[in-house]
Symmetry: C2
Subunit: 448 residues, 2 copies
């Protein structure tokens, strides 16, 4: 039964106040889908329907809701209802919740958490945003090296329900992480085998302060389901599971795409962000780049005489600036992405420039010939055709070189390469392209 | 011990031909790291070192290598060595390998696979590229609804080693998928419980022909470790695991970023792609957009008289075209990304346009005031300042509207919205912006 069918049935029973039927329909639905169902509900119905869910399902559904819906529910929950939900939530979901709520909600949530949860929340909250510590969970299974397989499986069977994953277990010795053992290893070993004999001691872990993007890359490189998080003394403090990493990939890609288009990133969705917040996110680069285009304007100022003599020259400016901008953004997009997925290293600087130079040379000659012929056919002026074509060749080469080198220079200076994308590059390209074009025109058409 | 340390030690022992030491070092390394180690090795050493690896590790390492290295090894493997590696590979890795190899290698691989593997390979190869069928594996654990927990765990213990995952098991009845049961469910149930009593019958699956991007989204939405793949008759034919999906996320993001910059995507890395292939990937859009900029040129042609009279007008063209381009790419990037992560739906068309209109209004007024003051201060010409500022307001509004509506129109026409990105939009924006600018200048400065 698919989601839209169940959803329709659910809304029908809700309308007719057939709560028993509704309860049965809800039981057939997945928490992620339930959260979507609540999103489309009248505010007044949300609380009633939420109370119809079984306890475990209700907390998981809660974790999939957006923050507005979560705030609505928290504001109508009694203290005991709130602490019930928090008890059932996985710790990393509680931390996510706290990070998104306004201060008065946070204090109510922390107040209603039980002592051990509160302690763990505070532990995680002290790590900086986007660090491994801030996205980890402390609900993992740990074993001792002297335990045997049978004991270990029994331990897992007894504590499994409250752990985020039981498929990777961690072996610790006075809190130090000394080995990893998978449930597959346990199940395919003899009952009396010692953990120390089957554990993998070649541990790959991340530090609490490592950036979440680097965590995501490691997990994906090794195809791990979970990766242990250790502190500076190699003590195990938590784990990060694949599901949290999938979200990181998506968010980081969104952030890159936005930054490349000159937009500050914010976590809210497009529609949830207010008009003024949108303006705020976009204004900095627009203003910066509008003002920097003054430079190109000043360069053109110097050629007013030439422009007055042959106004036709102006008609080819869009072609030059447009093609330059496109060439530059092609190169920068490839290089930025290459840097971000570690396909390109900083040491490849000159190799990249040489490659882009050769690509630019071939591209520019093809473009210049086509454009030259086009101009000659349309205006029957061979001299102008040559000037524009030569300027185009220079523009393409310069824009590809700028497009590939700015992101790499930024990375070298430990600035985020993505902000060196299209907008900045096209400003540099415009200025140099116009200077070359009008200088060439002046010299070759004897306009001085 | 970290990778670079082990790598250095490995190369030292290799140089001194201390193969026993080398073998011990290799045993401490993860297959993903081993693959990187081979990448830096002399071609002649690769085969020797590969034979030092334990059988299971060697196949996994092989699966992490790039296709060039894989081809090198296959070409020196004897038939029996090749079939040994194929036997140890997970089926989906074998299929990946086949998809990347040239024809003569493919036939050798298929020839050296055993009968059942060959049958499964052919099964998967018939699905279109990028479909769920093409990335699934058929190595999953299936159970029968009448089995009890104890029997099921025994089955998993006996077959677990050759399955891609044992943590999700699938319950089938005459090949139809009727339920899913996790290893956690099994371990936390009594030994004599029937599978039919604990299995989850509310199954979320994907069809063999579903696009891999939609598979990735589903897996991430539900935080699944694996998702079952069924054919049109709901029969279970395979599963897709989270590790394959993490790669999909990264590749799809790269593809989006490239397309948005007007580059055709290819699977090879930046350096592995030849100069001519790069030219080929970039030429189409460069040529298309260069020729379409002719339209802007033709519009400007009509205003030669005005340009000759006040050449200063030309100095403000870069500001107008640049700001328009940036505004357009900001809007299109947000909308394209929003469509791709399902945050924005097609039915929101007018809502988006109205939102972008309001954002554009606020942005344009701020920009126009700043730019107007700047022009007045620099050139002491209030009339030109007003003309440019008015043109800027129109340009910003038009470019934001074009920037948000073109990707949505593309999606409506079932064209990929990403190709409606920066390049096309800036062409439309340039043409309309120049038309408005020179028309305003003609009217307001009495230049007709």
């Amino acid at each position: 039964m698919n989601f839209s069918f169940l959803k329709e049935k659910a809304f029908q029973s809700l309308e007719n106040k057939r709560y028993l039927t509704l309860k049965n329909i809800l039981q057939d639905m997945n928490p992620a889908d339930l959260a979507l169902l609540f999103q489309d509900m009248e505010k007044n119905d949300v609380y009633i329907v939420f109370r119809l869910l079984p306890k475990e399902v209700s907390a998981e559904t809660f974790s999939y809701m957006d923050s507005e819906m979560q705030m609505h529910l928290i504001s109508i929950f009694s203290d005991s209802e709130l602490s019930e939900v928090i008890d059932q939530l996985y710790l990393d979901d509680t931390v996510d919740l706290i990070e998104e709520m306004p201060a008065n909600f946070v204090s109510r949530i922390i107040k209603n958490a039980n002592d051990s949860t509160r302690k763990m929340i505070n532990e995680i909250l002290k790590y900086p945003n986007d660090s491994a510590g801030s996205i980890m969970t402390v609900e993992y299974v740990y074993l001792h090296k002297d335990m045997c397989v049978k004991e270990s499986i029994e331990k897992i069977r007894s504590v499994g329900w409250v752990k985020e994953t039981i498929y990777n277990c961690y072996v610790t010795d006075s809190r130090k992480l000394i080995g990893v053992v998978t449930l597959l290893d346990l199940l395919t070993s003899e009952d009396d085998t010692k953990i120390s004999d089957i554990m993998d001691t070649n541990i790959i872990s991340v530090n609490t302060y490592e950036h979440r993007e680097s965590v995501a890359k490691k997990l994906s490189k090794y195809d791990f389901m979970a990766i242990p998080v250790v502190d500076n003394e190699e003590r195990l403090v938590g784990i990060i599971t694949f599901d949290d990493v999938m979200d990181v990939f998506e968010e980081e890609a969104t952030e890159d795409i936005e930054k490349m288009a000159g937009i500050s990133h914010n976590d809210e969705s497009y529609f949830k962000t207010s008009v003024f917040k949108h303006v705020n996110n976009r204004m900095f680069w627009l203003m910066f780049l509008m003002l920097s285009s003054t430079i190109t304007g000043l360069i053109i100022d110097n050629f007013q005489l030439q422009i007055a003599t042959i106004p036709l020259l102006v008609s080819f400016m869009p072609t030059l600036m447009g093609t330059g901008g496109n060439c530059g953004s092609q190169s920068s997009a490839l290089i930025i992405r290459g840097l971000s997925v570690d396909e390109i290293q900083l040491k490849d600087f000159f190799k990249v420039i040489f490659k882009e130079f050769r690509i630019a040379l071939v591209c520019s000659i093809i473009l210049a010939v086509v454009n030259g012929v086009r101009i000659y056919l349309m205006y029957k002026d061979i001299q102008i055709a040559i000037v524009v074509s030569l300027a185009l060749i220079f523009t393409v080469i310069i824009s590809k070189i700028i497009g590939c080198s700015l992101p790499m220079l930024a990375k070298r200076l430990k600035i985020d390469p993505t902000i060196m994308a299209t907008p900045i590059i096209s400003t540099c390209v415009d200025a140099s392209s116009m200077f070359i074009y009008f200088t060439l025109a002046t010299k070759m058409l004897n306009l001085a």
